[in-house]
């Protein structure tokens, strides 16, 4: 039995690659868009902040599986936009994550003292330059704890891409236990373990980053 399990391991690892690819690409999309949305929410001119707010509400208010189905079966297949399942999953995860990340970044921006912006402007920086050189670097450092939480959520939620046929680790697992039904429990346990190890190491890695890039004297979550 364990022999069959061992033999199926390469297949799981292949699925793992897709899972990781999906995680990284969705996070890139989610983070870039999230920073942009947060900056618009805080500094944008009417009506932009309101449009962003509506975006956030919508994407935080719909289950991920509905977002996936809307993008893949609705937009891609019915309307013929022509995204494959993997790309549709990246958009689904990325667009939803952006809505959550915008909240993380916005609260980080709001915790930066107002004087930072005023001082940047007094040097002759434009608003955009002040945001780029003074606000965003501080915002990123302050966002690491919240962002690592979002990272693990995205990583785990890639498994929902199973539902639109992305062949990630869950789908590969399913292929294995459909062929060998008496392995079902072990395959699922193994998948669970793989997710756990990934999430665990990601958290470790990110808390290392948090320490490394802390703003001296402005640490958050230091040992008290």
């Amino acid at each position: 039995m364990f022999e069959t399990l061992a033999k199926s391991l390469p297949q799981l690892l292949e699925g793992l690659q897709t899972t990781l690819g999906l995680t990284i690409l969705s996070l890139i999309l989610g983070t870039l868009l999230g920073i942009l949305l947060a900056a618009i929410r805080v500094y944008g001119r009417f009506p932009l902040p309101y449009l962003v707010m509506i975006y956030e509400r919508v994407f935080r208010g719909i289950p991920l599986i509905v977002i996936f189905f809307l993008i893949y079966f609705g937009l891609s297949l019915q309307l013929g936009i022509g995204l494959d399942a993997f790309t549709a999953a990246i958009f689904g995860l990325g667009l939803r994550s952006a809505a959550y990340q915008a909240q993380i970044f916005r609260s980080a921006i709001n915790s930066i003292p107002e004087g930072q912006m005023i001082a940047a402007k007094s040097l002759g920086m434009s608003k955009l330059e002040s945001i780029q050189y003074i606000i965003i670097p501080q915002m990123l450092r302050l966002s690491i704890p919240g962002w690592s939480n979002e990272f693990t959520i995205v990583l785990k939620d890639t498994s929902i891409a199973f539902s639109i046929g992305v062949i990630e680790i869950m789908r590969q697992g399913r292929y294995i236990y459909v062929r060998n039904p008496d392995l079902t429990l072990y395959v699922l346990l193994l998948i669970g373990l793989i997710y756990f190890i990934l999430v665990f190491s990601a958290n470790k890695g990110l808390s290392y980053l948090e320490k490394k890039y802390k703003i001296s004297g402005f640490e958050i979550g230091t040992e008290r």
Binding site: A119, A120, L123, G124, M125, E129, I215, S216, G217, F218
Partner: protein, 247 residues
């Protein structure tokens, strides 16, 4: 010709009129000190001069250019007006050196190495060459404020505005900051809001006494301290001298 001219500046926040027509002028390399009780619009006046707040009425001229015109490139003007804040407002994520050099790099477009060379020079000028690599949180209040002054100086401004630069400092740290400011007198124009009467008396070319959004009286320190025209000036200076010492 005047370097800075403030003409009949008014500023209100909602129904509260903070500045009710302020006019004065400064020559190149003048040092002027603005005194007055809290809430009389001293800080608002400074913020209007570098347009962090825009005046509702009136004109401000710098180097023969009206900077209150709506179509002016304010970012270009602000490079010529240094600002030193009561709360320092150093960039928390940057070392003392980068705090001073970032304006040169990002605003003036000077290459990084050259900008840092100039930043070191400015840090030396305020006596903080050895603190170049430290972050704001690792500096004392007095050191922070001197970095703030170096940051303003690095941009090679025509005038530096000081908004109560020593009010947030422990008494024993005030001296260092005032010494640096004294050393700048005559090299760059300074407009200083402060309660430090010693500084006003010894360094200022003119003292401006503000109250209720207007200039009550202004003149050279000697005249203001020994022979003020208005009774209110005399009363205020008498009270503040008891509080902050005569020198």
């Amino acid at each position: 010709m005047y370097m800075l001219e403030v003409k009949d500046v008014h500023k209100s926040y909602g129904n509260l009129e903070v500045l009710k027509g302020i006019s004065f002028s400064m020559k190149k390399e003048d040092t002027k000190v603005i005194i007055g009780t809290s809430g009389t619009g001293k800080s608002t006046l400074l913020r209007c001069i570098n347009q962090l707040d825009s005046p509702d009425k009136g004109e401000i001229w710098l180097d023969g250019e009206e900077i209150t015109k709506p179509d002016i490139d304010i970012n270009r003007i602000r490079q010529k007006i240094g600002f030193v804040f009561q709360e320092f407002n150093l960039f928390n994520h940057l070392t003392a050196l980068r705090n001073v050099s970032i304006g040169l790099e990002k605003v003036k477009g000077i290459p990084k190495e050259e900008a840092q060379k100039r930043a070191i020079k400015e840090l030396k000028r305020v006596g903080l060459k050895n603190q170049a690599k430290q972050y704001p949180a690792q500096l004392s209040g007095g050191q922070k404020q001197r970095v703030g002054i170096a940051r303003a100086l690095a941009m090679d401004p025509t005038i530096i505005l000081f908004d109560e630069p020593t009010s947030a400092l422990d008494p024993e740290l005030i001296g260092d900051v005032l010494d640096v400011m004294k050393s700048l007198a005559g090299e760059v124009a300074m407009l200083v809001v402060t309660h430090e009467m010693g500084f006003a008396r010894n360094v200022a070319d003119e003292i401006i006494f503000m109250e209720g959004g207007i200039i009550v009286e202004s003149g050279p320190p000697k005249k203001m301290f020994q022979n003020p025209k208005k009774a209110r000036t005399k009363e205020f200076l008498g009270r503040i001298s008891t509080l902050y010492g005569k020198d």
